[in-house]
Symmetry: C2
């Protein structure tokens, strides 16, 4: 691999001149002619900066870590893409990891966060809150932003319009004539679950419908959580005619359970879920969902940590554009 001094030799200039030109130092006067010679030499040699040299010198790696609960989750595809797109614009690379990689005190956590490998952390730990202290001091020296997993006022938060999304979904069921509407939410420790509950209750209240607390569950966001919710909700009497599921993965499990229990969706039961993913289009029946601005959350969150890496003041992110949007498929029909 060609180094700076290889380029310098070939261009007949000093390494510092090459460095200034190739790293686009903002305030630097280099004649157009040397500039050209340097650029040409670099191109001829296929020069690429050595990341270790640069990182060592500048105490910055130009890498951020993005941690999500699991990578198999179609929900995070858009988020990841948003972060990556914003990162590459600033010449940054994204190191992806799973929540289990940063289990407090674990060897992976140290390797990932403790060796100067990443300049900042974008964290979406799942529905169980993960305190900053468990990051082994990382949060004291580097920016950490928590993606839709803490309260909107907590420092370093980036949040999505969960409440609006929940309202849109619930409103859809109400518009279809449903009144006996169940709500399969995430666990109550989770901030997203809290916000989604607010949206659900707001929509119900606005329509003058009293929420039957027996029709509200709080098991979580996985398919098996959805099954448990279904088991409980479908046993209620009278049975709900519609369910709003706070997460599309849970909805997949819920649908599977309903099927087994002989409950026909959408004829006997309308189902709408928050978040969209490819799985939603491939369930039977295809799921009506509400999309959330995950891509935007990713972009904005990266931009925020980048600002902070540059030493600017932290500010909290609230993404509400584009707004949650209903995608009607076949799991919801008007109440008979």
């Amino acid at each position: 691999m060609a180094t700076l001094s290889d380029v310098a030799a070939r261009a007949g200039v000093s390494v510092s001149a090459v460095s200034r030109v190739l790293s686009n130092a903002p305030e630097t006067r280099v004649s157009e002619e040397t500039r050209d010679r340097i650029r040409r030499a670099a191109r001829d040699l296929g020069y690429r900066p050595n990341s270790a040299g640069r990182a060592l010198r500048s105490a910055r790696s130009n890498v951020v870590a993005l941690i999500v609960p699991d990578l198999m989750n179609a929900l995070f595809v858009e988020l990841v893409r948003g972060v990556e797109d914003a990162a590459i614009d600033q010449d940054y690379l994204v190191l992806m990891g799973r929540t289990e990689d940063i289990e407090p005190g674990g060897e992976r956590a140290h390797k990932l966060l403790g060796e100067g490998r990443v300049d900042a952390l974008l964290l979406q730990p799942g529905d169980k809150p993960l305190p900053l202290e468990s990051l082994g001091g990382f949060a004291n020296s580097r920016p950490v932003i928590r993606l839709n997993s803490v309260g909107e006022d907590e420092p370093g938060s980036a949040t999505m319009p969960d409440e609006v999304g929940a309202r849109v979904a619930t409103r859809h069921l109400i518009d279809l004539g449903h009144e006996r509407i169940a709500f399969a939410n995430g666990i109550s420790e989770s901030y997203t679950a809290e916000r989604r509950a607010r949206g659900f209750r707001a929509a119900m209240g606005a329509a003058g419908i009293t929420v039957d607390e027996a029709l509200v569950t709080a098991y979580g966001y996985t398919p098996s959580d959805g099954e448990r919710a279904a088991a409980q909700l479908l046993a209620a009497t009278p049975r709900p005619t519609a369910i709003f599921v706070a997460n599309v993965n849970a909805a997949v499990g819920l649908l599977a359970y309903a099927r087994k229990a002989g409950v026909q969706v959408p004829r006997d039961l309308a189902v709408v879920a928050l978040h969209d993913s490819w799985t939603a289009a491939n369930t039977w029946p295809p799921l009506t969902t509400v999309t959330m601005p995950s891509y935007e959350l990713g972009r904005r969150a990266f931009d925020e940590v980048h600002r902070r890496i540059l030493g600017e003041e932290p500010s909290n992110i609230r993404v509400d554009d584009p707004p949650p949007r209903l995608i009607v498929r076949e799991s919801t029909v008007p109440l008979r």
Copy 2:
């Protein structure tokens, strides 16, 4: 962050002594007593090696890249886990990326592969072959291993027992009494598709059943490829009574199409798919699948690149333990 010389100062020894002790240099004589002092000082200071310094000095980053087609794909969960588990054992970190990140000549590809950031590449580009030349010379200087995506004899290949898996799946349908068996395969450029086809044909041949070429498709491994396959296969007359789908994601799409077309699985059509994933348990009906040793592939592939990083001779990996195993769910029943 504490550095080596901080530790040295605190322990009252030289940096080289500290380096020798903390990096476990194999052949080094340091008295037990200094060793202890150094370890204690390091612990007190919370010392962690700086990755940039180490990488610059040793021309090695202790990071490997793992590229898969997309991270939303539940298929790769076990593979990723296998690679990560093997990596951490050797003090390595895994940088995950998607095939689109290394689009030839793209900026991300250069940042990822061209700046000395990774010591090796584990590549599973999807079903379209990706020539090594498009890696911008990376393959000339660093180990690259291709995960179940090239022929078994190609240098740097790591392959799964696709043929056996396909045989197990097909055999299952035959055992249930089916004879008019369709095969929804991946695209024909793909080596996995070729191997799966071999397994399918072997099982059919062994049972003395002639393959009806009208019942063989080659669209690919995504849900929409599965839909296309279903559209063609369900239009055949007489209709097949069973389908072996070469990929579980395609099977999800195929199932959705069958549903829409009013074909009842498993009563009218038995479906078995290769690979298992959480989605398979949540389709309707739940899919009968054949698991593949993805976790093992990940582990073995990492171990192989690690050997090569250490300068040992390349060898090809064939994983066949544990062998493919049938998981009977509800999408297959005996022929009426």
